[in-house]
Every structure is written in structure tokens, then in C-alpha cells.
């Protein structure tokens, strides 16, 4: 399988450690295409930054939910979100959607970055699967009946209740709407039953 990670460069231990330090200190918490690539590999579906960001094009730019459009209040919120190194802080990053914010709240920014760097260093995309073990397995932000973690691995939209793995969504909706389905199918079944009786009726055929 073709690796999605860049080719390793030969560096001295000192330069390597320095790079690691700089990466940990200054890498901004946005635009991690490696995560998008990982989800694509896992699910076989096309995805984009809208998995976690407000703007599908990512956080860089002047559009809605992008860095160039943030007012001072939003910039403060962004700074607070970036300071959430440990798990458990309420994060309201203006560049992340509610799923992105929930990831940082559940994992903390430090763990998120460590995981990403670990994947880069090991050249192993499956390392990123660790993110699913860090998230709440029962969380279902869009209420579609499929946990966020499952949706992430399926490459479907975590915040749209009309988007999910077709098979899973079918089963969930069938269970949820069982009463409606039974009523509809029973009604139509009775119509068919009545029509069959009508067809077999000798008196009607004699018309």
C-alpha cells in the first residue's frame, strides 16, 4: 500500500530533537491533512476538512470559520482553545465545528498533536486510529444513531443525521421508525389483501 506519509529525511539526533520541540511548540492546531488521508484509507470515501472544521476548505483563508475572518472575540476563543493542552476543558474554537471541539475537549490538544507526530515518525497511518480509542464511544453529536467514532472511521459526516454508512443508517432508522414502518406496511398490506379478495370474488368478475 502506498504510504501517505512523507519520505523520511536523514537528520542528526540533535536536529531531530530540535524539530520535535519546535513542532510541539509552534504547530498550530488546524489543517491536518494526514487525518483526512487516514479516514480516506480506512473508509474508501472522499472526505475533507469539514470533518472537524467549520469551513470545508480548512481554517486558512477569509471565509466563514477561517482565520482571516475572525473578530477579536473569536480570536480570544481561538487562543483559549489552543491553550487547552489537557483533556476536559470546554473548547469553543471558532475554526472547529462541534465535533472538532469535542475531540480537543476529550483528548486535549497535547495528545492530539502527539498522536499526529507519532504517526509521522512511525510512518504508520494506523497510529491515527488511536484517536478513536481516545474519544467517547457513545457520543453521537448528530443523533443519527451511529456513534461519532464509527462515523469518523466510515468517513461519513459526524454532524449530519442524514449522512452515514447506508447499511448502518438503514438499520438504525428501521429500528427507530419501526412503528411507522409497521403501520405503513400493514396499511398497504391490507390494501393488497383487499384487492386480492376483490380479484377472486366471483360476483365482481361477473361484471
Amino acid at each position: 500500500m502506498k504510504s501517505f506519509l512523507p519520505e523520511p529525511r536523514k537528520t542528526s539526533l540533535g536536529v531531530f530533537l530540535l524539530n520535535l520541540l519546535i513542532a510541539g511548540a509552534v504547530t498550530p492546531l488546524y489543517a491536518f491533512p494526514d487525518y483526512v488521508d487516514f479516514i480516506g484509507i480506512k473508509s474508501g470515501r472522499e472526505t475533507n476538512c469539514a470533518l472537524c472544521h467549520i469551513n470545508p476548505e480548512g481554517p486558512a483563508g477569509l471565509g466563514i470559520g477561517q482565520m482571516g475572518r475572525l473578530d477579536s472575540l473569536q480570536q480570544n476563543k481561538l487562543a483559549r482553545a489552543r491553550a487547552a493542552m489537557a483533556a476536559g476543558f470546554d473548547v469553543e474554537s471558532p475554526i472547529l465545528n462541534s465535533f472538532g471541539n469535542s475531540i480537543i475537549k476529550t483528548m486535549g490538544r497535547r495528545k492530539f498533536l502527539d498522536l499526529w507526530q507519532d504517526a509521522l515518525l512511525r510512518k504508520d497511518p494506523l497510529v491515527l486510529e488511536q484517536i478513536t480509542k481516545s474519544l467517547d464511544p457513545k457520543s453521537d453529536l448528530d443523533g443519527d444513531g451511529i456513534p461519532d467514532v464509527r462515523e469518523l472511521l466510515d468517513g461519513t459526516h459526524v454532524l449530519s443525521k442524514n449522512h452515514g454508512s447506508p447499511g448502518r443508517l438503514f438499520m438504525v432508522n428501521a429500528k427507530r421508525s419501526a412503528v411507522h414502518l409497521v403501520a405503513i406496511l400493514a396499511g398497504l398490506g391490507l390494501v393488497i389483501f383487499g384487492l386480492r379478495r376483490l380479484l377472486r370474488s366471483r360476483s365482481f368478475s361477473g361484471l
Partner: protein, 367 residues
Amino acid sequence: MILSNLFLKTRNALAQWFPLENLTIEHIRKKDVPIHGLSWGYFTGGSVLICLLIQIVTGGLLLFYYEPTVSEAHASVEYITQMVPGGAWIRNLHAWGSSAMIFFIILHMLVTFAMKAFTKPREITWILGMGLLVITFGLGFTGYLLPWNQIAVNATKVVFQSIEEVGQYLPGGLAELPRMAREVIQGEASVGQATLSRFYAIHVMVLPFSILGLLGLHVLLVQLHGISEGVDKKAAVRERFFPDFVIKDLMLWAALAGLLFTLAICLPFDSLVDFPLLQPYNPLGATPSGIKPEWYFFFVFYPMEMLPFWVIIIAMTALMGGLLLAPWIFKNTSRKILQILAAIAAVYLAVMTLWGGQIHAWVSGGL
């Protein structure tokens, strides 16, 4: 003398095509349906009709909230899906209904072809059927743009581009026709508000009224001519059209409605598409990968990706011409041959629709 002959010939032809003397209650009561190996095909026409009824009702309801402007179209569709009570169900039913309608109209065409039901005096019925097929595809194409999302707009752009490319294969002044057609339908330099307005008008007014007009005439002619025999020897077993066949048709309608209702409740149509393609169209953003038309255009879309464009133009022209003129081209062809041709077409359509993507990837990888 010549004029008199021409008048007589025309009158005779019209009398054969439109036997209005059969427009009586007595004729309807006497009308029967042959029962043989292909008689299941008689129900495909009714299946198209129930789908059309569902489309009219659900489409009418969607009009209450849909806003045909580039700034509001996507948001209004999202509003219907997320906020309007029952909106997601109605929208899903409309989407599944359109696919079902196209599936059944193609099946109806293939079965009618295999039965050789287009022969004299049913030529006009067949041609009207072809018109209905084209209009149905037109409804699918125009409706695809209305949600104004990435896949809708970009796929429409690809189609417009293909239309314009046809021009380079046409001689002289005809070469300008595709470009002019594109400009008229598109309405402006690129796909934008004018295009959306035109597609909206075509989708909710022009094509529905056209389909109702043609369908009325099509059904009237079926009524006047009766049901085609469909086999070489007159079927020994027959059933009365009314009430027997009509009741069976209604039973099938109920079963189909049940299937579509279930799908609309349990499986949102959007879940079949990758979510980046469902996001609002961004004219300044990059075109996302995976842009393709709806499944019912795969039979021409994937060959277009794999073969030179001129091959597709020749094939499509031959196909459309052949189908339109089938009553005359296949006048003396046996039903056996027609059934083989229909079966080949069905297999081709199924393979391209289900595995066209894999075939394309395999061919691209192998080159």
C-alpha cells in the same frame, strides 16, 4: 389527383394511428390482456405511472420551501431536510422516486422493444414513449442541479462542456448549434443564477406539463389500440383489462409504494454520496474529486471517460436514431432477435451502472 391521393393516404394513416371509434365504454370492457412469458412487462408502464404520481405530490410539497436562488437554494434544501416536519422523508421519497421512475421507464422501454410492441399501428405510441423517456431523463438532469451543492453544479458543468464539444464534430454552420444550445440553457457565462432559474422553470413547469401531455396521449393510444400481443402466436390464456389487470396493477402500486416509503424513511439518499460533494457549491474553491452524474447516466458517462468523444457521439446518435425509428428499422425483425438485443442492452446497462467505476479504474490503470 396527387393531392387527393396524399389526403387519402394521410387520412388512412391517421385513422390507423388514432382509431377514435374505439373510444367507447364497450371497448374498454372488452379489452383484454394476453398472458404469456413476458406479460409481467405489461405492469412496467403502470409502475412508471405510480412513480410519476409520487414525484408530482412530493415535488409540489418541496416547492413550499425550496428557493431557487444560488444564495438560498442549498440552505433551503437543508432547511427542508433538517427543520421541516417530515421534510427529510418527502425529500428522500422524491429522490428515491426519481430513481425508481427512471428504472421502470427503461425497463418498460426494453420490454416493449423485446415484445415488438412498436409495430403498425402502434408507431406513434412508441415515439411518444421515446419522448417520455427523454423528458424523464431531462427531469432527472434538471432536478440534479437544484440542491446547488458541489456535485450538482460541477456535474452540470461537465455536461455543458460535453454539449459544447459536440460542435467540433459537426459540419459548417451546425458546429455552432451546441454552443448556442449551451448558452440558451446556461443563460450566462458560467453555471450561475440564470442557469438555476432556467433549470428550476424547466424542472417544475416545462417538463412536468410536457410529460403530462405526452403521457395522456400515450395512455389514450394504448387504450385505443388495446394491449399489444407481445408474442408471435396469439396467447390462449387472456384476462380482462378491467377489472382483473387493473386490480393487479393497483396491488403492484401498493407494493411499490411500500418499498419507496420504507427506503425514504430508512435510507437518506444523501448517504450514498460522499459528504464533501453535498456541501454548498463554492465557485472560488477547488473542484472536489468524485464528480459524476446520477447512476442513470453511467451508461454513457463511463464510456465517455474511457473512449474517444467521437465514438460516444456516433454511438449515442445511432442509439437514439435507432430507437426512434425502431418501428420501421425492426419492422421485419423477429421477436427472438429483438429479445436478444433487449437482453444485451439490459446486461450492458446493469454492468455499466453497477461496475462502471471499477471498469473505468481498471482500464485507466491498465493504460
